[in-house]
């Protein structure tokens, strides 16, 4: 529609202004206790990080408190990250907790433009855990580390009483070497930049939901967990100077990544729903469960923001990497409205693709 809207009254303008100001402020942590929403990767998680952690730990150099931080040691630029894994069930189609614990951490390094070098591993085991399960997961950690080209160089084990953890929780800390070709920042997005995803989305989260067996749905959907450094390496080679930022779309999915970066760069991001790759089985499960795939977690998919001059090279490079053959462009960066993500729906309308509030809960009707 091209007709003009009714003019905005002063009072409405003032109310909209109040909302904008409130939005731009750093998120606060005002809850009386931690709820599951604080772990879901949406607004509540942001409140926990910006309201509690940033005031305690942020410095001028590490104002972002991102997944990975960087330090310089005797002229060498190193990246460091840590991640914990509490997935349930611990084995699922396409992977297991051990494989996730390696890939999740090496991917946080890769997204910071760092080649993963070494990991430490901390295991919290539940009293009564079956020895076969323990051995299998240790073997899967070893195999994943080898595939990702990192060594596990140290660690810790703890055992807690039955019921105090669910089989096993893992925590890995990763050290990486920051690649000199990389100059990445969440604040680097410019109008005209393009948004790429590395393949079909929402597979990991959907595989986990179905593996929990709560829905009596059967579908062949495998987790997308995989190490991403080879893809990043290829991207840096092909389009290094035009790469703005990389983000793995884990908790909160692709929508949360887009929102985070639109805010960090003060730009708008417009995504085209019809171009977002989703496997038919995943789309079907999401439709039945009433969940939007754009908010569903991935463990081996990432979003690349690249200047227009580097799009073709970046896509060609990505598609040549095993596991990223399905890489496509899904949108672009614009000026207005800053800090927001808009979705051009496949039906031909537009809407705001908002940050997730709490867990992605199904609707009743």
């Amino acid at each position: 529609m091209t007709s003009t809207r009714s003019p905005v009254s002063d009072r409405e303008q003032r109310v909209l202004g109040i909302i904008e100001t409130a939005r731009a402020k750093r998120a606060k942590f005002r809850d009386k206790q931690v709820t599951m929403a604080h772990g879901a990767g949406g607004k509540a998680t942001q409140g926990l990080i910006e309201g509690v952690l940033v005031p305690a730990f942020a410095s001028e150099a590490q104002a972002q408190l991102a997944d990975a931080g960087s330090v310089e040691v005797d002229g060498a630029r190193l990246a460091m990250t840590t991640d914990s894994f509490v997935v349930k069930p611990i084995r699922f189609p396409g992977g297991s907790i051990g494989e996730l614990a390696v890939n999740g951490t090496v991917n946080d390094l890769a997204m910071a433009g760092a080649r993963p070098v070494a990991l430490t591993l901390s295991m919290i085991l539940e009293e009564g855990l079956d020895a076969v399960t323990l051995r299998e997961e240790v073997a899967s950690i070893a195999a994943a580390a080898q595939a990702a080209g990192v060594e596990v160089i140290g660690g810790d084990t703890k055992v807690v009483e039955r019921g105090h953890c669910d089989q096993m929780y893992l925590c890995t800390t990763g050290l990486g070497y920051t690649d000199p070709r990389a100059s990445l920042s969440p604040a680097a997005l410019r109008p005209g930049d393009r948004v790429l995803v590395s393949g079909p989305i929402a597979q990991h989260g959907t595989a986990i939901m179905l593996a929990r067996g709560e829905f009596e749905l059967e579908a062949h959907i495998e987790s997308d967990t995989q190490p991403l450094w080879p893809a990043v390496d290829a991207l840096l080679d092909a389009a290094g100077p035009s790469l703005r930022c990389l983000r793995d779309a884990t908790r909160g999915g692709v929508a949360s990544v887009l929102n985070e970066l639109a805010r960090a760069s003060g730009v708008a991001i417009v995504a085209r729903e019809g171009d977002v790759p989703i496997a038919p089985a995943v789309a079907g499960a999401a439709e039945i469960l009433g969940i939007d795939p754009l908010y569903v977690a991935n463990e081996g998919r990432f979003v690349t923001f690249v200047g227009p001059e580097g799009v073709d090279d970046a896509l060609a490079a990505l598609r040549a990497v095993p596991g990223c053959e399905g890489a496509v462009e899904i949108g672009e960066v614009r000026t207005e409205p800053p800090g927001m993500v808009l979705l051009e729906t496949a039906f031909g309308g537009r809407r705001v693709l908002d940050q997730l509030v709490g867990d992605p809960l199904p609707r009743i009707c």
């Binding site: 009072r11 109310v15 009386k32 038919p280 039906f347 031909g348 309308g349 199904p362 009743i364």
Partner: protein
């Protein structure tokens, strides 16, 4: 997806959009209320506002069963959830709805065993699997979900599952519509009638809307083409000077409804003399309780509940917003005391509420000419 994509065809959407534009009278402003939260969701999900001319304004009605649960009822639910040995089950979008002392999600964080289910039958299954625990199901929704609660209670009775009970917040669709239509300051031209409710009650119960109140209503489905066609049918009635109940969703909705679903509801439920709606106040004969024959499965009788009425905050003007009298931003607490993170009124509770939608998307709606 077969049988889904056909109803989301963008070319047909554009055709309907053009037909709607051709139907409206120049200079006239239309306010059409979509009664059901499912329609509101579809309108946002597919960006349908973009396919309507500016002179057609969709007003989001009271048909979101989650939004209309009053705070006192949420407090009762939380009180039961905190009883020792209770497993409390409910639909997913109910867990965030605030009572006067927080939500079920926060109760879970304080130690209550709150579990999300997709169907009341899942709650019954949990009861069977945990015979030493009391399993309570929080039943909410219009006639859409009431039959599934009724069937579950019948099955619990038949199987002799004694540790299962239900806190009944089911409501009926006609009384709140009548209450809205009775309001002297109502400014609506017509209604998009609820599709899923009508699969149960049929289209017949809405006959009073054209006959007594002179407003057209079109019972519509939930796919984007359904909603657009429903809007088009309302506008066409207005253009042709007709005023009747039409059924856009005839592939699912029979005029007489589903007699078996109605029969099972009749057996298991009884009308409450009145029920409180958040934002709308008390509406007589609008809520269901368990019938005397099923009173032993009524959680409100099995457990001590506070049953305290918590008044809607005075400054909240949800009632006026729901009637289309004021716009969300005209409410005194909108965007200041009342936000999606800390909602006061019903319209801000669910992302489908008129105020939450305006809070999140309003700026964009105003600026979309320049995007």
């Amino acid at each position: 997806m077969k049988y889904v994509d056909e109803f989301r065809d963008p070319d047909l959407g554009r055709t309907l959009s053009r037909e709607i534009l051709a139907t409206v009278e120049p200079g006239r402003h239309y306010k059409v209320m979509e009664v059901c939260g499912g329609h509101t969701h579809a309108i946002y999900k597919y960006g349908l506002d973009d396919l309507l001319p500016d002179c057609v304004e969709l007003v989001h009605g009271p048909g979101c069963p989650v939004c209309v649960i009053p705070m006192g009822r949420v407090d009762d639910a939380i009180a039961i959830a905190h009883q020792p040995g209770v497993i409390f089950t409910c639909f997913g979008d109910m867990v965030r709805v605030p009572g006067s002392q927080g939500s079920l999600l926060e109760a879970k964080a304080r130690g209550a065993d709150v579990r999300m289910v997709y169907s009341p039958l899942d709650a019954l299954r949990i009861a069977r699997a945990n015979p030493d625990r009391e399993v309570v199901f929080l039943a909410i929704g219009f006639e859409t979900t009431a039959p599934s609660t009724a069937l579950t209670l019948k099955r619990a009775r038949a199987e002799g599952v004694e540790n299962f009970s239900c806190i009944c917040n089911h409501v009926t669709i006609v009384p709140p519509l009548r209450a809205l239509l009775e309001s002297p300051d109502l400014r609506l031209d017509g209604f998009i009638g609820p599709g899923h409710v009508s699969t149960v009650v049929g289209a017949r119960p809405f006959q009073f809307i054209p006959s007594a109140y002179g407003k057209p209503i079109v019972v519509s489905g939930f796919e984007p083409l359904d909603v657009l066609q429903g809007v088009h049918m309302v506008l066409r009635q207005l253009a042709e000077g007709r005023c009747e109940v039409e059924n856009q969703y005839s592939r699912v909705v029979p005029y007489e409804g589903n007699p078996r679903a109605l029969a099972v509801m009749e057996e298991v439920f009884a009308l409450r003399p009145h029920f409180e709606w958040r934002g709308l106040g008390f509406i007589s004969q609008s809520g269901l309780r368990l019938s005397d024959a099923y009173a032993d499965l009524d959680a409100e009788q099995r457990f001590a509940v506070p049953g305290v009425r918590v008044a809607d905050p005075k400054a909240c003007q949800c009632g006026e917003v729901l009637k289309g009298v004021i716009k969300p931003w005209e409410c005194k607490v909108f965007g200041t005391a009342c936000t999606p993170e800390r909602p006061i009124g019903t319209c801000m509770v669910s992302s489908e509420g008129a105020c939450a939608a305006y809070y999140n998307f309003g700026r964009f709606a105003r600026e979309r000419e320049v995007v």
